[in-house]
């Protein structure tokens, strides 16, 4: 139990996907203009990451490993994740229009996101069991959401600030992201090992 908790905390804070591993920077910069949309994106990522890590884990240990096809891992994972997201989008659209309204537009954005693929590959590299990989996926997604919402909050305030002309736009956004990543460095050493 403690072991699972360590994985969770490690994924959320210490090895934060965006701020320590630098995965998923595209949605991090793209969907962080408003806290509200950042939260929606975070929810969608959480959902996709958990489902995708379950599917890719099964694919790895039921198909790829028994048939000695580990070298196809990357392309097989991309295929499965893309299919999965497409199908989830269709199902959600049909079964729950309300959920589709809040998550729907974000789903295609993360179809082939590097954070999702990175998570699937890391699961295998770390040798996690099925339950561990699910916990790791949830932690990674929660960390992504946390970073996204914090950054969106910073950006909302930044729009009102008198920023020097040379720093306006992307440059001040990247500087802010860097400072946020520095702040997260403080969590290093929280989880031993």
């Amino acid at each position: 139990m403690i072991h699972l908790l360590l994985i969770l905390v490690g994924a959320v804070l210490v090895n934060n996907f965006v701020l320590a591993r630098f995965l998923g920077l595209c949605p991090f910069l793209g969907v962080s203009k408003k806290v509200e949309t950042a939260l929606g994106m975070g929810m969608a990522v959480t959902f996709v990451m958990v489902v995708a890590s379950a599917c890719t884990w099964l694919l790895q240990y039921l198909v790829l490993t028994p048939f000695d096809l580990e070298y196809l891992q990357t392309i097989a994972f991309i295929l499965v994740i893309a299919t999965l997201v497409q199908m989830v989008e269709m199902i959600v659209r049909k079964s729950s229009p309300v959920l589709y309204q809040s998550l729907g537009i974000f789903l295609p954005l993360i179809t082939t996101n590097c954070a999702v693929l990175g998570l699937a590959v890391l699961n295998i590299q770390q040798g996690y069991s099925f339950v561990e990989s699910l916990v790791f996926a949830f932690g990674a997604a929660a960390g992504f959401t946390l970073a996204l919402v914090l950054y969106a909050g910073l950006r909302e305030r930044l729009t009102l600030c008198p920023v020097p002309d040379a720093f306006r736009g992307t440059s001040i956004e990247l500087i802010t992201a860097g400072l946020l990543a520095l702040a997260f460095m403080g969590f290093a050493g929280l989880v031993p090992g």
């Binding site: 196809l72 295929l79 299919t83 269709m90 199902i91 659209r93 049909k94 009102l160």
Partner: protein, 279 residues
Amino acid sequence: MLAAVISLGSLGCFAAILLAMAARRFAVKVDPRQAALLDVLAGANCGACGYPGCSAYARALVAGTARPDLCRPGGPETLARIATILDIEVAPGEPQIAVVRCRGDRQQSRAKYDYQGLEDCRAAQKLAFGPKTCPGGCLGLGSCVQHCPFGALSINEQGLAEVDRDRCTGCGLCVSVCPRQVLALAPAGSHIHVQCNSPDAGRKVKNYCHVGCIGCRLCIKTAPECFVMEGFLAKVNYGHQKPTAMADAMERCPHHCIQDLAEPGEAAPHSPSVEERTS
């Protein structure tokens, strides 16, 4: 090599079959009119219709829960096309345009204090009701400029908001964002406007600035029914305009707050600045 081709091929086929089945099983019928409407709408996603984006408005139109004349940027042209798609009859309303109801620039108006803070009128307004003595004057920090989706607004050198009549679509976003309601919508066809927003009596307004409406009612005497009084502030009665009488009133307005905005080149009669008067 062969194993890779077979396994990936079968995985791909499996995924394709799964997706094809899902697409059929979970198909959602969308009204074709919705896509057509989305093409017709202005596509600025400005939110002036009250819906989050053009696609949401299109959906509401098809569902019949929205009025068809809400797309301000599109204007009467869009309205007519929406009417053809939805097969309904509508009478186009008159297009509107935003008007800045203030001429009290840095020279003409008196400041209450020196504001140094967020470059945002709403923030400034919260600090002792704004850095201008006049409670209705333009603060000139550009909240409206930031919110205009069409780039029709700017802050001029004298610290006043200005509307580009060619670019303004009358969407009204600036009106709702301005903390002092300096901006207002007026019919795009009318050129003569009262450019003051101060609700106070003449004696106070004279203290605030040199180009404010003091409520002398001279314009109403000159052009009856073309102007109306709201408290101590004259307003144009846009439903009842007589150009010649109104031009007369414009000439006679002692503080030059009635302005013809169609002729930007013709400057208002010279009114001495604060420095000139005090010296």
